[in-house]
Symmetry: C2
Subunit: 391 residues, 2 copies
């Protein structure tokens, strides 16, 4: 893409590791920012396998397209000094270390804002920078437990389950991106930077809304309900001859259309199913009726019938099917990239599109530290050899 991108010219130091921080940097890079991934000399955790002689990590490749790579040893004064100088020339710094780590190294928000009052400093943590739980260690799975997600995921009567995807890490990273850009926008008016903070636990809380609504409605604690919904029917995942399909009727028109798709117009005036309230009261019958229909068909047959009758429906697809999705390919969302050490892999563009265009072309992540000298030269106007005398 040659048209200017929204964040062209914005300089970002991305100290993010693993998922949350790097995903914020990914979204900034895809929106056009100049993102420099800053890693310790041995690389961030996802890079270390490569450093031990293995192939590059797929997650590392996935999250760090269109970033440059610099190394900086924050355990040494020389490295901290380099970081301070780069932060003096940057617009944004992202980190998702545990609370207090950057402060203890002398390169936290308070220290860096004095060097660069225009700097936007973005912190992503599991539980936040303040409060009694801020020191609690957190990863996606433990935050899923603590934030309530597992209590509502799983079979009715079964044990709590995690949602398969690491969605809280990515929700955290996305909120961080929005917060950073909000602060950039504000800075055009005020000239001043900001501390932007996101806690994964708080980013996850709104996703519980349906169940919080049920709890408020009837005072009962929502538990696990398999694929059902407390107040909507039909709403579930139904078996087919070759897998499963999700079907949901939000409006009465969806229901009437579903009966037509099923060839059961005779039930349109049946009082057991006359509206959603009645169907929830006769939920087992309602759900069985739909399951009986889907069981004899393939996923595609159900999907086709639902589509032509305008009923919300989707086959349950596996990851190979998702990766081969012609729709995602036609939209330019999934791009085949010939990646050093990994061969041809499919990588995603940003889910945020500007004027309908995907963010590509996607550039593979450089080797560890490949751009350190180049960034020093560009941002600091100094040749790296000056380091010692300049610091």
């Amino acid at each position: 893409m040659t048209a200017p991108r929204p964040l062209a010219g914005v300089r970002v130091l991305d100290l993010g590791q693993v998922y949350q921080g790097p995903y914020a940097g990914f979204l900034l890079a895809q929106a056009g920012a100049d993102v420099v991934k800053v890693e310790p000399p041995r690389g961030e955790p996802l890079r270390r396998r490569e450093a031990r002689g293995g192939p590059p990590s797929f997650p590392l490749a996935f999250l760090n397209t269109n970033k440059r790579s610099a190394t900086c040893d924050l355990k040494e004064e020389e490295g901290r000094d380099l970081l301070r100088r780069l932060a003096g020339a940057a617009d944004v710094l992202i980190e998702n270390f545990a609370p207090g780590v950057m402060d203890r190294l002398g390169v936290g928000w308070q220290a860096l804002r004095e060097l660069n009052p225009r700097l936007i400093y973005a912190s992503g943590t599991a539980y936040g920078l303040s409060g009694p739980d801020s020191e609690r260690l957190g990863m996606d799975i433990t935050v899923q437990a603590w934030a309530g997600v597992m209590s509502i995921t799983g079979e009715a009567g079964g044990r709590p389950l995690k949602a398969g995807p690491a969605f809280i890490d990515f929700l955290g990273g996305t909120h961080l991106y929005g917060g950073i850009v909000s602060a950039l926008y504000e800075r055009t008016r005020t000239g001043a930077g900001r501390l932007v903070e996101v806690a994964m636990q708080e980013a996850a809380y709104p996703t519980l809304l349906s169940q919080l609504g049920l709890m408020h409605h009837d005072g009962k604690l929502p538990g696990r309900a398999g694929n059902r919904h407390g107040r909507v029917s039909p709403y579930s995942v139904y078996p087919c001859r070759d897998g499963h399909v999700a079907v949901i009727c939000i409006t009465e028109r969806h229901w009437r259309n579903l009966l037509r798709a099923m060839g059961r117009e005779d039930l349109i005036s049946d009082p057991r199913f006359r509206n959603n309230e009645a169907r929830v009261a006769h939920r087992d019958e309602t759900e069985a009726l739909v399951a009986e229909w889907t069981t004899g068909l393939t996923r595609s047959e159900v999907d086709e019938a639902a589509r032509s009758h305008r009923v919300p429906c989707a086959p349950v697809r596996d990851l190979a099917e998702v990766n081969a999705d012609p729709h995602l390919r036609e939209r330019g969302f999934l791009e085949a990239v010939d990646h050093p050490g990994l061969g041809e892999i499919r990588l995603p563009a940003s889910a945020v599109r500007f004027d309908g265009r995907p963010s590509g072309p996607l550039e593979p992540i450089p080797a560890l530290g490949e751009n350190t000298e180049e960034v020093i030269r560009e941002w600091l106007g100094a040749v790296p050899d000056d380091e010692g005398s300049d610091g």
Copy 2:
């Protein structure tokens, strides 16, 4: 809060309905924008229960704090004309109707940009504005099916399950927020608006990263694995006397610390557990060892032991426990609001904090259309009675 907020002065028309669009508007409002929720005369779907004489909807209250309310009948030319005039005075318009709905009404991106080239027009859909699947109907549950989420959620050998939380709606809304603010930032330089587009399916794709990585690594299709992870052990949810706890060992230090917490230092040099690779090879033994320890203890006892030994751990909490969380209260994230028609409810601030402060105080959503005249007066400088002669 009296300090100026990052998006102070930004005018937003939020035509969002249910979750995705309104959550983008929520994040903008909490960051300081002037967000006007624009609803049809009967209200958006979440409002209609209230219109039928019931109490206000909890989800409506949750997602629409600090917004004003205006009504606008897009089925009538008068209403479309009002929307055009308001869009002429707005910075941002958000909608999450199906693709083409706004265009067919003559108030889509192409029409509105001619009236206001500075307008940022944000569209949130299930599958995007282009491509063969754009007409497919989608809600969170069907997108979970289609996007691959359900194929990796559930017990090993069990049926596909949905993640309990409607996380894709919220991921979509968060990406939309970031895209909108990116376009606002760009506009300070170019003076021009943008179409910002997010498809829920694409927003969900990155959350599959761990499983996509496994698939790339060994070529096998990742399926459902309960609470386990293909390449990390210990990593699971373990039974306690009074519930469950999640425990995960990412580093060898976590493992050694866990053995100390368990009083099993004797196993530190056991070759079956000597590193993560060995533990994955002896996964059943490794997991059983941890479960044996947790089974005799309460959630708090496990949590306390893990905390004092710096092992990532968290009890599985239910929604009542989450809502009573002293940490969230101390951080000002959950605020008790005395809401008209709903009594005292707990509502969340934005998960994006600026300078460590929550976004509050939270203002309840006004009655349907309560601010229509006020917004017309402020934004258009006209008294509403002028409507007929002015249009």
